[in-house]
Amino acid sequence: MNTIAGYNFAYLDEQTKRMIRRALLKAVAIPGYQVPFGSREMPLPYGWGTGGIQITASILGRDDVLKVIDQGSDDTTNAVNIRRFFARTAGIATTEKTEDATIIQTRHRIPEKPLSEQQIMVYQVPLPEPLARLEPREAVTRKLHALADYGLMHVKLYEDIARYGHIASTYDYPVLVNGRYLMAPSPIPKFDNPKLHMNPALQLFGAGREKRVYAIPPYTKVESLDFEDHPFSVQRWEDPCALCGAEDSFLDEVVLDDAGGRMFVCSDSDYCTTRQAAGHTGSQSPVAKEAA
């Protein structure tokens, strides 16, 4: 596809890319710390992935292969739109196959297939400050990070346990990176949190509206906060995916009718279709239906 005339490769001008690149290098050097950057107005709205888009635009080269997912899926409209944006402005190759991508921009999920050292994950982040819901003033949260004073978050989680019997955060579950900075993993389900830990891929996080980037280098310790008597746990479903039979993936609930009928299918569309192509079936697969 030809790129749009009048715009630089990957839309951003070179000075902006340099500014973002410098911020990314500091983010990598200080794992989990939110680096302020001069976020630009992008041609897509704030809150729709402008942080991730600016990171991708700054790291992207002509040989890269880009995958964009939203909720784990390549074909949700916003993922399609962002992929189209880079195909138009950078003319790069895109893919839906996790293993073929060199850069994966994501909103709210980490792919089920393990990532490699040759890949970079780019997360779109709406609210980068993990303490924001407990303390909205940035002047204060910055001090708390400087002092590594995360008592506020521990108290919140402990109060959850006292009130509900368990920690009531199910997504954007706070993590401690490299034993130092408390970090918001973006609204991934806590199911994905263990994948952050010691991942071979470099993980970059961009919040455009809030003007922050941060990073988890490869092979970095990432702990989900918990307590000895209430260890961190993740969701597992009783039934496998209704389309591919996977028992190890994050499942979306699909409402089938207005009488309580529902089924559960993989949120990671590439994972599910790859498994189906390899012959795996679930309760709603055509084969299974015919047999029934």
Partner: protein
């Protein structure tokens, strides 16, 4: 068989075409041109330029056409375009005392040097729909004053300054260059130059509401419209190879100086203080609201009690930008299946616990929790 929904590029392209058709409307009606918008909807153009942070009437008019009149969308279009423009240099500060005035009023003094100049204003129109505008009309010749206005008119704040009753406004030591908020992130505490820059780009409706709240007791403020002036000012730059200032054009500005009483402190005698508002084009509501909010945001530095939302810099400055606010509010339209699924699962669990049942509701296969190996 269940087939997963595919959004896809076709749906997006079709929606663009539907949008273009809706923008054009009935083709029996002549298509509007950016030139018409620029000439006849100049106040809409002014707002798009101010909040879009780009003084270009043609581009603002084009943005308004493209956005079908949606001002926030037009502002967004202009901002996104502005981002891509190279910087050639920085202009000198504009001198509004040398403004070629078209309007200048003061609510503080009945008469003052240079006089009150009403100019083009809606203030004393009687808000009766004018049905004659349904038909094309010849533009009336504008009335002319008997004598030209003075070339430079002193600002009201300067008149009071002579008596020592008005706080002085001096550049900070070393006269540091202001932060450029379009290039650098906002950080706190934000100095006044940064705050004013933020407010100048801020949403008019937001500033209006915040300014209004200060009049209703949410901040201890007693403002007087010291002076509002509107007209054209010259924009000057100093090219490096010349070494002296040259005029590169002129822009229309509206400036408002609000005067507020200040009780004084241990170090400062009682005096008047100011709130400042400035906006591109004819933008009186915006610049007045901005001046009220500017003054409210100075509460902490003046040692006043800060109790009201309009006095909290982080609250005001972090929420004033309509491009940011519109994006984030509307991002709720994006799919949130994954977080919703997580919440749904949590709620079912809490509900079960609440009802003392261990069994999950009909048809469900609620996830259970297992310890994460990596964290164990």
């Amino acid at each position: 068989m269940y087939v997963a929904v595919k959004g896809g590029e076709t749906a997006i392209l079709n929606s663009h075409e539907l949008l273009a058709a809706a923008r054009r409307g009935d083709e029996r009606v002549p298509e509007i041109t950016p030139a018409q918008i620029r000439q006849q909807l100049r106040l809409a153009v002014a707002r798009v330029m101010s909040e879009g942070s780009l003084y270009d009437e043609d581009l603002a008019a084009l943005a308004l056409k493209q956005a079908a009149g949606d001002q926030v969308e037009a502002i967004f279009l202009l901002r996104a375009y502005r981002t891509t423009l190279p910087r050639f240099g920085y202009s000198l500060p504009v001198d509004t005392s040398r403004m070629a005035l078209r309007r200048r009023i003061s609510a503080a003094f009945k008469d003052l040097p240079g006089g009150q100049v009403l100019g083009p204003t809606y203030d004393y129109t009687q808000r009766l729909l004018d049905f004659s505008l349904c038909e094309p009309s010849a533009s009336p010749l504008p009335p002319r004053a008997d004598e030209p206005l003075a070339e430079a008119m002193p600002r009201v704040s300067e008149l009071l300054g002579h008596e020592g009753l008005m706080e002085e406004e001096l550049p900070l030591p070393g006269d540091p260059a202001p932060v450029d908020l379009s290039r650098e992130p906002l950080s706190f505490p934000a100095d006044r130059a940064t705050r004013l820059q933020n407010l100048a780009r801020g949403d008019e409706g937001f500033l209006l509401a915040m300014g209004y709240s200060t009049q209703r007791g949410y901040a201890n403020s007693h403002p007087f419209a010291g002076e509002i002036r509107m007209g054209e000012v010259a924009l000057e730059i100093v090219p490096e190879e010349l070494g002296f200032a040259i005029t590169i054009g002129e822009i229309t500005l509206t400036e408002c100086q609000m005067i507020n009483q200040f009780a004084g402190s241990s170090t400062v005698p009682p005096q008047f203080t100011r709130g400042y508002g400035l906006a591109f084009g004819e933008a009186e509501r915006k610049s007045m609201a901005m001046a009220l909010v500017d003054r409210a945001l100075r509460a902490a530095e003046l040692g006043e009690e800060t109790t009201a939302p309009a006095q909290q810099p982080e609250f005001v400055l972090s929420h004033s930008d309509n491009v940011e606010a519109s994006g984030f509010v509307q991002h709720l339209k994006l799919p949130h299946y994954v977080d919703f699924q997580s919440e749904l699962e949590l709620l079912r669990k809490m509900r079960n616990r609440h009802e003392g049942r261990m069994k999950v509701g009909a048809g469900g296969t609620a996830p259970t929790e297992v310890a994460a190996e990596e964290n164990a």
